[in-house]
């Protein structure tokens, strides 16, 4: 039973972002964490980095594989979830809240609205 939250926006590569906020938290979806399985390491981005939508900005690693995490929108990385350094499994247990990965200040505040809404993301992963 995969959870998809109605108030978030989604990139087809399975990142979520909070719309209408700056900074906006970004993480990976419940579906993505289930596919990746036990997450054992997260390479967090550098605070202050300017990124473009689609840039690989973080790496989430299970025992078997390292997976790139992409910026869902353009902007500046303004915070990272340091708790993941000690407890990367937060992404598995709570992907939408405690397991957020970084916060971004979108260059264009309405860019998140151009991403998939919950209904479209559900269709994407079904």
């Amino acid at each position: 039973m995969t959870t998809v939250l109605n108030h978030l926006r989604y990139r087809p590569s399975h990142e979520w972002i909070e719309p209408g906020k700056s900074p906006a938290a970004v993480g990976i979806t419940d579906h993505a964490q289930a596919e990746l399985t036990d997450i054992v390491f997260v390479d967090l981005p550098v605070i202050g980095r300017q990124v473009k939508a689609g840039d690989p900005v973080a790496v989430v690693e299970s025992v078997k594989a390292a997976s790139d995490i992409y910026a869902p929108v353009s902007g500046e990385i303004v915070a990272v979830n340091e708790a993941l350094n000690g407890n990367p499994g937060l992404i598995n247990t709570d992907p939408f809240t405690e397991g957020w990965i970084f916060q971004i200040a979108p260059s264009n505040p309405t860019e998140p609205d151009t991403l998939l809404d919950a209904e479209a993301y559900r269709a994407h992963i079904s």
Binding site: T37, D38, V40, F41, D43, E61, V63, K64, A66, N85
Partner: protein
Amino acid sequence: MTENLQRSPLHQDHLALSARMVPFAGWEMPVQYSGLMAEHHAVRQTVGVFDISHMGQVIVSGLGAEAFLNHALTNDISRLAPGHGHYTLLLNDHGGVIDDLIAYRTGESEFFLVINAARIDEDWAQLTTLHAAAPSDADIVELANLSPACGGLAIQGPKSRAVFATLFGPDATYPEKNTVISCDTPEGLMWLCGTGYTGEDGFEFFMPATTASDWFQRTVTAVQAEGGLPCGLGARDTLRLEMGYPLNGNDLSPDHTPLQAGLGFFVALNKEHFIGQNALLQEKAAGLTRKLTGFRMTSTAPPPRPHYPVLSAEGQPLGEICSGTLSPTLQYGIGMAYLPPTHTTPGTPLQIEIRGKTYPAEVTKKPFHRPQ
């Protein structure tokens, strides 16, 4: 899924258990069922069952079988008593590794070989070539490749004996370490082998492919009754690497000799003759230039993985990782790499380059983990 992959006789059973299927060595195999970590810990703490139907089986028999295999393989097979087996290697003329395998003596002049899935064709080609080249006055040797007709299961972990008793009855003889029991059943031959790839107590057994699904169902039930789990190739890889066991294709290849791989114990260099012997004698006399060396990460770092560069503490390139993982038991990164002899002493500092950053590591003795 990639095309032309072979399927295990347990394919439908894996799907019914919601296994995640991946390509491995030309086969579509389960990488995990409930989760790699849980499966790994099940084998260390209770018991797990693995599908090893992809592995190959060859029978070598006849009055000349012992002499034939002692020529083809590195270990001294004449020292094996009936009912016993050992780890050995099949080399090319240059001493490079074609395959690593277990050879069991199942009768006075009958041997059962268990070979790697990815090397069945190469092994068979090498054995049949050597067979064809044998002198005409040599004693008779017969080769049979049973690989497509056999299924296989590995039961591994401290509760393996309880699972064995459930499957075969409380009075059945357990195959102790490095022994083999072959039995003739109405459906065909079965082999029970006291071997494994995890470092734990356990056994492997091979049966007619037509009966594999039935055995698997019964084994899963018995394993679960002991608190264990069906386990995929993901856990099989982390378990074997914690023991420092090499994986053919990662750590063993025709580019490296068993001496470089630290497998000299399984090479009877002084026996009369075997394929690759001259190359190994020369290498031994000249001194090894590379040795398969264990290392561990010494600070928080991403899991080390194959092909990441290995550097000296001063930043000089030394080689690349062959096998690497986060050890689920030890909770730090471990791996193996072919390194120059200057960098093989335990405690020697190293650096591992991961995505352009370097992380500290040090040379460590194998095995990385010793089961209780």
